[in-house]
C-alpha cells in the first residue's frame, strides 16, 4: 500500500516537474532559440573521484546527464546537438582507461538502436563525426549501423564527435579540397588544350584558388550549421581542439559544474545569454 502511495506521489511530482519545464520552455521560446548547441563533456573523472565512485563510473553518470540534456534541448526546440565524446588526444590516456571508454561507447551506441531510446522517441538522426578509422572495428561498425538506422529521422540531429580534433578535421578537409581542386585543374587544362590548343591564364588562375566553400564541403561537421552556443563544463575555459573552425562567432559558456552535475538551470542560463547577444550577432552576420 505504502509502495503504491509512494509511486503515485513520485509520478505526480514527476508530471508536475515536466509541466513546469514545458512552461519554462514556452516562456524562453518568446525569444530566439539556438539552432545548434555543442557540449564539451568535461569533468567525468573528477566527478567519480569527488563521489568516491569506481573507475569509469563518472563516464556512466555523464551518459545519464547527456540523455537528460538532449531531452531538454529537443523539447526546447534546439535542432542540432553536438557532443565531444572522445578526442584523438584522449588516446594518450592510460590504455585501460581508453579500453574502458571504448567498451562504454560500444554499449551506449548499441543502446541507441533500442526501441525505447531517446533517438526513436524524438526522431533523432545520429552522425558520428571524426576520423572513424582510428576506432576499433566493433565501435566503428556499431556507429555505422546507428547512422544507417537513423538516416530517415528528421526531427532533430545528434552529432557525436569521436576520434575527433578540429585540427585533424581542418587538415583532412584541406587535403580533400586540394586533391579535388588539383584533379579539376588537371582535367580542365587537358580539356582546354584539346579544344583550343592553349589554356586561358585567367580562367586557370581562378579555377586554382581554394575557396571557403571547398573546405566546408569536405569538413566532417559539414552536415550541421555552426553552433550558436558552446558549453564546456567543469569551469575550464578552453576549446581543447573542438570545433575551432565552427565556433568563430559562437557564444562560449563555461559553468563550474562538472559534466554529470549539469542540469536544466545551466541550459536555461546559456539560452538567456544567447538571447542577449543574438541581435548583435545577427546584425553582424548580415553585414558580413
Amino acid at each position: 500500500m505504502e509502495n503504491k502511495i509512494e509511486s503515485y506521489a513520485r509520478s505526480s511530482v514527476g508530471s508536475l516537474v515536466n509541466h513546469m519545464r514545458r512552461l519554462l520552455f514556452r516562456v524562453l521560446s518568446t525569444g530566439p532559440i539556438p539552432n545548434h548547441i555543442a557540449f564539451i563533456l568535461d569533468g567525468n573523472r573528477r566527478y567519480a573521484k569527488k563521489q568516491n565512485l569506481g573507475e569509469g563510473m563518472g563516464h556512466r553518470a555523464g551518459f545519464v546527464t547527456l540523455m537528460s540534456l538532449m531531452k531538454y534541448c529537443y523539447e526546447l526546440g534546439v535542432k542540432y546537438v553536438t557532443v565531444y565524446a572522445f578526442s584523438i588526444d584522449n588516446f594518450k590516456r592510460r590504455p585501460e582507461e581508453v579500453q574502458s571508454l571504448m567498451d562504454l561507447m560500444l554499449e551506449k551506441i548499441e543502446g541507441l538502436l533500442k526501441e525505447e531510446s531517446i533517438v526513436n522517441q524524438y526522431g533523432v538522426r545520429v552522425y558520428f563525426v571524426g576520423n572513424l578509422k582510428l576506432l576499433n572495428a566493433p565501435v566503428r561498425d556499431a556507429a555505422e549501423k546507428v547512422m544507417k538506422a537513423t538516416a530517415n529521422n528528421n526531427k532533430s540531429i545528434l552529432l557525436i564527435c569521436v576520434a575527433y580534433t578540429s585540427t585533424d578535421e581542418i587538415t583532412h578537409a584541406a587535403q580533400e579540397a586540394i586533391d579535388e581542386k588539383w584533379g579539376e585543374i588537371q582535367e580542365s587544362s587537358k580539356a582546354s588544350i584539346a579544344q583550343n590548343g592553349e589554356i586561358s591564364q585567367e580562367k586557370h588562375e581562378g579555377n586554382r584558388t581554394i575557396k571557403v566553400a571547398d573546405i566546408e564541403r569536405h569538413i566532417y561537421m559539414g552536415v550541421a550549421p555552426d553552433p550558436d552556443i558552446l558549453v564546456r563544463t567543469s569551469g575550464e575555459t578552453r576549446l581543447s581542439n573542438f570545433l575551432l573552425w565552427q565556433t568563430s562567432t559562437c557564444l562560449l559558456y563555461s559553468p563550474k559544474a562538472l559534466w554529470p552535475e549539469i542540469g536544466l538551470r545551466h541550459l536555461v542560463w546559456a539560452v538567456l545569454n544567447f538571447q542577449r547577444v543574438h541581435p548583435y550577432l545577427e546584425k553582424r552576420r548580415k553585414q558580413v
Binding site: 573523472r45 573528477r46 573521484k49 578526442s87 584523438i88 588526444d89 584522449n90 594518450k92 590516456r93 592510460r94 582507461e97 580534433t165 578540429s166 585540427t167 585533424d168 581542418i170 587538415t171 584541406a174 587535403q175 579540397a177 586540394i178 586533391d179 581542386k181 588539383w182 585543374i185 586554382r208 584558388t209 581554394i210 575557396k211 571557403v212 573546405i215 575550464e236 575555459t237 578552453r238 576549446l239 581543447s240 581542439n241 575551432l244 573552425w245 565556433t247 568563430s248 562567432t249 559562437c250 557564444l251 562560449l252 559558456y253 545569454n273 547577444v277 553582424r284 553585414q287 558580413v288
Partner: protein, 314 residues
C-alpha cells in the same frame, strides 16, 4: 674630468650619439624614456668610449642590457608565465559611447593600453604578445570609422611603435595587407624590416586578419606547392599545415593565454587553429579601462589552470 665624461655620456644617452654625416644630435621620445633608469658610472664610461670610436651605438640596447628585469608582481610564478599571450582588445567604441566621446578616442586610448601591456610583457619576460587590431569582418563598419582606424594605425605605427624599438621588440603584422591603404602598407613594411633582427619580445599585430582567412591562405599556399610539384597531396598533415599559417613567424605561434575584454564571451574569428589548447580569460572591463592589475588577474588565473591536452591527470 669625470664630471665632463659623465655629462657627455648623459647627453649621449638622451640624444643617441652623433650622426656621422651631419654631426648633429638626435633626440627621440624613447631615449628620453630611458632616462628614468639609473646609470652606474662604469656603464657611462663604456658609452663615452663607444661614442668616441665614432660608431653609432644603439643606446637603448645598452640601457636594456644594464637595466635589471623587473621582479614579477606578487602571486605570479616565473616558471608558469605563458610564452604567448593573445589579446582581443574589445570595448573601445562602447567606452567612448559611455563617456560621450567619438569612437576614435576610444581606439586611441586602446592604443595607449596596448603600449602599456607591451612594456609589461617586456619587463616580465613574455616571449610573444599579439593583438587583434582589425578583423576581416570589420570592413562592414561605417566607412568613416574604418578610415579613422586606418589613420590611427598609421599614426601609432609611425610614432608610438618607435618606442618599442629601443626595447629590442620585434614587430610583425599578420593579415591580408593587400587590402590596406598603400601608405599604411609601406609603414608596416618599414617597421617589420627594421625590427626583424630584434631578439626581445615579439609583438604581432593582426590587421585585416581572421582565423578563417589564415586557414584559407595556408590552404592556398599548399595548393600552389602541390601544383608546382613541391608537395604531394598525401604529404599534407597538421604539422605542415601549421607551418603555413601566418603565425609561424613567431617562436611560439600558438597562444597559451587569450584575453578578451569587455565581457563578451566569444572568439570573433580571431585565431582559430592556434587556439586549440589556449586558456581563455574573459575580463568584464572594456579595453581602455584594462589596467596592470587586470592583466595580473588574468595571469594568476592562467597559472592556476591545469593543462591536460586531453591526456592523463585523474
Amino acid at each position: 674630468m669625470a664630471c665632463l665624461v659623465s655629462t657627455c655620456a648623459k647627453l649621449a644617452f638622451v640624444f643617441g650619439g652623433i650622426n656621422p654625416t651631419t654631426l648633429s644630435l638626435q633626440a627621440t621620445p624613447a631615449k628620453q624614456h630611458a632616462l628614468r633608469f639609473p646609470f652606474p658610472c662604469s656603464s657611462i664610461i663604456r658609452c663615452s668610449e663607444s661614442m668616441a670610436r665614432g660608431a653609432r651605438t644603439n643606446v637603448l640596447s645598452l640601457v636594456k642590457a644594464m637595466q635589471t628585469q623587473e621582479a614579477l608582481p606578487k602571486g605570479l610564478k616565473p616558471e608558469l608565465m605563458p610564452n604567448h599571450i593573445a589579446i582581443i582588445s574589445d570595448g573601445n567604441r562602447r567606452w567612448s559611447n559611455e563617456k560621450g566621446f567619438k569612437s576614435q578616442l576610444g581606439h586611441r586610448n586602446g592604443a595607449r593600453v596596448m603600449k602599456e601591456i607591451v612594456f609589461l610583457c617586456c619587463n616580465w619576460g613574455i616571449k610573444v604578445v599579439s593583438f587583434f587590431a582589425f578583423s576581416t569582418e570589420n570592413w562592414a563598419r561605417p566607412k568613416e570609422q574604418v578610415d579613422a582606424l586606418m589613420c590611427l594605425f598609421e599614426d601609432v605605427i609611425q610614432t608610438d611603435l618607435q618606442e618599442f624599438m629601443g626595447y629590442n621588440v620585434r614587430i610583425s603584422f599578420i593579415g591580408d595587407k593587400s587590402k590596406l591603404p598603400k601608405s599604411l602598407q609601406e609603414v608596416m613594411a618599414t617597421v617589420e624590416d627594421s625590427t626583424r633582427g630584434n631578439m626581445g619580445l615579439h609583438l604581432m599585430i593582426a590587421i585585416n586578419y581572421s582565423g578563417r582567412y589564415d586557414i584559407m591562405q595556408a590552404s592556398r599556399s599548399i595548393t600552389s606547392k602541390v601544383k608546382d610539384g613541391f608537395l604531394q597531396v598525401e604529404d599534407i598533415n597538421e604539422t605542415l599545415f601549421e607551418k603555413e599559417l601566418e603565425t609561424n613567424c613567431a617562436q611560439f605561434p600558438n597562444p597559451d593565454l587569450l584575453i578578451r575584454t569587455s565581457g563578451e564571451q566569444r572568439i570573433s574569428n580571431f585565431y582559430l587553429w592556434q587556439l586549440a589548447y589556449t586558456e581563455v580569460f574573459f575580463s568584464v572591463k572594456k579595453f581602455p579601462d584594462f589596467e596592470e592589475e587586470d592583466f595580473i588577474e588574468a595571469l594568476i588565473s592562467f597559472q592556476k589552470r591545469e593543462r591536460r591536452y586531453g591526456g592523463n591527470k585523474y
